[in-house]
Subunit: 336 residues, 2 copies
């Protein structure tokens, strides 16, 4: 299934300016994870030198094994909550390390907090020493249960600080705070990207504990029941990975991006039940839909206001949900 990814990587590369990346040195934390591995692929394709850092807490070697033979690809197995030094001078640091599946929040709260606070601190320290640009992968989860949907960057968030999800939501919020503190104290060039739900090849399926898109796809393909939490009326907006990665890299090289915060995601809002039906149809599956209790503090709506990204980056998602899902289903067919 590498052909599919290779063609998607080429699509991303076409939307960018090779001159911004060629010969540059980038470090990607969480580089063996879903988004991190796409970043590595694209950066290598653009002619950058890539340090990929991962401790395999949730990343997988298979996501990057094809890059191992690349001259410009260096893999470092490392936990970002410990300081890191790199002998070459870095130009970009993409801090994408963190478990992100709600099912992991209950079991690894302290590890998640570490990746987003100590990890962010350590990578900012590295950025400061290298005079490198720092791109922090924040999340729509910092908005919690927003009053304003679609949610703009100016909304401050309504998050439960002591709930089960708080290890993720609050540590990403503090990750943003630390990022801005380094920007203000030390003048580090920082960019914060608030990433809304993204899907595509390489997102882990993980059975019933996976993120919703890969879970529904693998359940549909295996003719198992599709597990919907709550009544499925809660909404999400799903961005195909190529659109997201294009936005992240456009933001990373933006001339006036220093100190900015940008939402990236697809503004089409769909209910979880609607998503289940779309995936059933695309997989031609007769899986029944099963309803399970909603976990605590599950956000009822999630949809980005992307007007800032459209204006700053001249960017908007191009891949329709059905088109992105078809590709993703193809990829999982090869995997399962």
């Amino acid at each position: 299934m590498m052909d599919l990814i290779r063609s998607d990587v080429r699509d991303i590369v076409r939307a960018l300016d090779r001159a911004d990346f060629k010969g540059k040195i980038a470090l990607v934390t969480g580089g063996a994870g879903f988004l991190g591995s796409w970043l590595c692929d694209v950066l290598i394709e653009l002619g950058a030198r890539v340090y990929c850092v991962d401790n395999f807490a949730s990343g997988r070697w298979e996501n990057i094994s094809h890059l191992a033979s690349e001259e410009n690809f260096v893999f470092i197995e490392h936990d970002v909550s410990k300081p890191l030094e790199i002998k070459e001078k870095l130009d970009y640091i993409f801090h994408f390390a963190s478990r992100a599946s709600p099912f992991e929040f209950e079991h690894y709260p302290l590890e998640i907090i570490d990746a987003n606070t100590l990890g962010t601190r350590n990578m900012l320290e590295l950025a400061r020493k290298n005079d490198a640009r720092f791109i922090f992968a924040s999340t729509s989860e910092i908005y919690g249960q927003p009053d304003v949907v679609p949610t703009p960057e100016t909304y401050w968030g309504y998050v439960n600080p002591i709930g089960i999800r708080s290890c993720y939501d609050e540590s990403k919020r503090l990750g943003e705070t630390i990022t801005m503190a380094y920007h203000r104290q030390y003048g580090v060039d920082v960019r914060i990207v608030r990433i809304f739900n993204t899907y595509g090849p390489r997102m882990r399926a993980d059975g019933v504990y996976g993120r919703v898109v890969p879970r529904f796809i693998s359940q549909a393909l295996n003719r198992e029941p599709i597990t919907v939490f709550g009544d499925g009326s809660q909404t999400r907006s799903f961005c195909y990975v190529t659109d997201l990665i294009t936005g992240v890299l456009k933001f990373a090289v933006l001339e006036n991006g220093n100190g900015e915060v940008v939402n990236l995601g697809n503004p089409r809002e769909v209910s979880i039940l609607e998503l289940a039906h779309i995936i059933k149809k695309l997989t031609n599956s007769d899986s029944p839909i099963e309803f399970h209790p909603l976990p605590p503090d599950d956000p009822p709506r999630r949809c980005p206001d992307i007007s800032k990204a459209q204006k700053l980056l001249n960017w908007k998602p191009k891949v329709e949900l059905e088109e992105g899902l078809k590709k993703t289903i193809e990829w999982y067919k090869g995997e399962i």
Copy 2:
């Protein structure tokens, strides 16, 4: 002016049960600070053994020097963002270390973040090893600019994650998150107290950069202009220190307090301008009132809903604002 404090300490002691504290070993971080030093005084008076930990970032030796000769008082100069070991078995850990003046947020953001995140982590680790009860000093600032005033514990907060104040607000929020993570993961007995504005003897005046009550008092006593930020219509509710400390210690020994979060503060809401006039009157001062620009993200209203504390702890503030201010003014007259 120690007579005033001594008499106040005896008032607090009368409201508590000596049997809960006598012979117990307590550690107080930020023990040389405003609230921490009052805790040390009362705990010593109750017959507890006290480890007082402070790095003098904002604490002062004068606040605790009178305790140095006490057999049961041990002072440790230590930065809580570094791990700490104590040779005796601890019963209570009061984590009260953190700069708390908005004027410091701009200059010490990373230090504040460390005290509330690494510091909280280190003290929870100590609580876990000692099977000690952990009391976290959180703050009304975790509510940010709340939609609901008076604000109950169930309100999640509306906080700017990337503003100048965020180093304090967000790190206190994550402090709560880490506290609950230790409670859930390791079964540590934890109690979170959200402290609303408190004032009284030992709060630092610090000239124009001090907290509002000591700043107004010292300006009024010195016949200098009283500096009001904004138009003074923003509200706060001010709790005299004896009431606050009584509430904290009642909560610390509460049988069913494990895993609970409680607001402590005085529910009387006054505007900053009203406070200026009260203090002018009580000090018989002819200081003019000067209006300065409001700092960013200054909360327009702050008032606790204390029904939970009333029910759980059979507690409510007893000291009227004018009475508490009179004592505080007496104390500052001795200091200035």
